[in-house]
């Protein structure tokens, strides 16, 4: 039993990977070890697929509402979408003090998309994998945000935007100055020269930590939550609901909170990138 539970957990935590086999042919990996051998140039078909499908659902719904949006009395779906838009808009206005038309749509995309990816956690853990198993697909991880590739892919995109806007707003000199002249500075140029390496080290560390912590926080929370669902699924069938229901209810809070944190931190980081001293 111990062996099969380990297998069950491992099986649930293995992505469906498409890449180049060691013999040179391309195809889906049959095991976790095989997937590892494929190296970097492989793709997690399940995470990628679900993430794109969810984004298409989100954008499809929002786009259809946007097409029909009236300034009259809004209907049910438009009401919901407007609540989201208004919520994002006010959050962005609160924490972002520059003027950049990109930030609010960016925040909306992040919030809704991450929320939907997290919400896949609430689908019973065996539901979709069992369905795909019928079609001969043996690995299926349905929660994209439990894949660090997904969360880090987004957080590094945010990182790229931080760098881009820092340079755009402050100029290369300003950005370099920000990295090298803080937190220690001294009017004496000799002492300042001594401080510069220390400052650079601290500030670059600070800068690089941002995307990593941003991506890993989301990944860690979702991974842990998914793990607990998997563990609950190992228990006898008749007792599962006593744990899975409370955990799922609690998890509704977690998935919303994590999506919100990811969005707010993105906005705050970009706001900091726009601040010119």
């Amino acid at each position: 039993m111990a062996g099969s539970s380990t297998e069950y957990i491992k099986h649930h935590l293995t992505n469906l990977v498409f890449g180049q086999h060691s013999d040179g042919t391309w195809g889906l990996a049959d095991s976790a070890a095989e997937a590892k051998e494929m190296g970097f140039w492989a793709i997690n078909v399940d995470s990628m697929g679900w993430s794109i499908v969810l984004a298409l659902v989100f954008l499809g719904v929002f786009k259809s509402v946007a097409n029909k949006a009236t300034s009259g009395v809004p209907g049910g779906l438009q009401n919901f979408v407007e609540i989201m838009v208004d919520f994002i808009d006010s959050t962005v206005k609160d924490s972002f003090h520059g003027r950049n038309p990109l930030i609010a749509p960016l925040a909306l995309t992040i919030f809704v998309w991450v929320f939907m990816m997290n919400a896949m956690d609430l689908v019973p853990v065996d539901f979709i994998p069992a369905l795909f198993n019928l079609f001969g697909i043996h690995f299926m991880k349905v929660v994209p945000s439990t894949d660090p590739n997904i969360t880090l892919g987004m957080s590094f995109s945010v990182f790229a935007m931080i760098i881009y806007y820092s340079i755009k707003v402050k100029g290369i000199g300003g950005f370099a100055g920000e990295l090298s002249l803080h937190p220690f500075n001294n009017p004496n140029p000799v002492i300042q020269a001594l401080f510069i390496p220390i400052n650079l080290f601290l500030e670059i560390l600070n800068l690089v930590t941002k995307p990593i912590s941003l991506g890993l926080r989301l990944f860690g929370n979702m991974y842990a939550g998914e793990m607990i669902f998997i563990l609950i699924a190992l228990m006898p069938l008749w007792i599962q609901w006593t744990l899975s229901v409370p955990w799922a209810i609690f998890h509704i809070l977690v998935i919303t909170l994590q999506a919100f944190i990811f969005m707010v931190l993105t906005v705050v980081y970009l706001s900091m990138a726009h601040e010119d001293h």
Binding site: I43, A55, L59, K63, V65, A66, V81, D89, N149, L152
Partner: protein, 156 residues
């Protein structure tokens, strides 16, 4: 759990979806919402104006009512005055008419009295003579005593 090309794929799709949201989703929604905001603001302002107009109209109506009441009161007072005046006039007229009638009646009565006196005077002489004739049993010369009898009649 391996880091692989998925990270690049996710970054690319992220960029595409954000771009799509920026171009096609966000602007119409926010435009509709802003437009509604303006509409509501305008509506509220209209309501404010209407309220002020209403208050003004109410005040005007009250003013008009007050004026009308005052006018009515004046009219009633005038009418009362006029009525009193008419009554007084009528009384005066009646009084003077009565006076006149009384005077006329008195005159008539006096005339009647005078006339009765005259006729009595005319007859008393005859009666006196007849009486005296009977008393004296003689005929009295009318012409001889007429002067004395006239004097007597005049004394009546």
């Amino acid at each position: 759990m391996n880091i692989n090309a998925t990270i690049i794929g996710q970054a690319i799709s992220f960029a595409i979806f954000v771009f799509f949201c920026l171009k096609f989703v966000w602007p119409p929604l926010i435009a509709a919402m802003n437009e509604r905001k303006e509409k509501i603001a305008a509506g509220l302002q209209d309501a404010d104006t209407a309220e002020k107009d209403l208050a003004l109209a109410k005040e005007k109506a009250a003013q008009t009512l007050r004026e009308a009441k005052q006018q009515a009161a004046e009219l009633v007072e005038q009418a009362n005055k006029r009525a009193a005046q008419l009554i007084d006039e009528a009384k005066d007229q009646a009084r003077s008419e009565g006076e006149r009638l009384k005077v006329a009646a008195q005159g008539e009565i006096e005339q009647e009295v005078n006339r009765a006196k005259e006729s009595l005077r005319a007859q008393v002489a005859v009666l006196a003579v007849a009486g005296a004739e009977k008393i004296l049993n003689t005929s009295v010369d009318q012409s001889a005593h007429s002067e004395m009898l006239e004097k007597l009649a005049a004394e009546l």
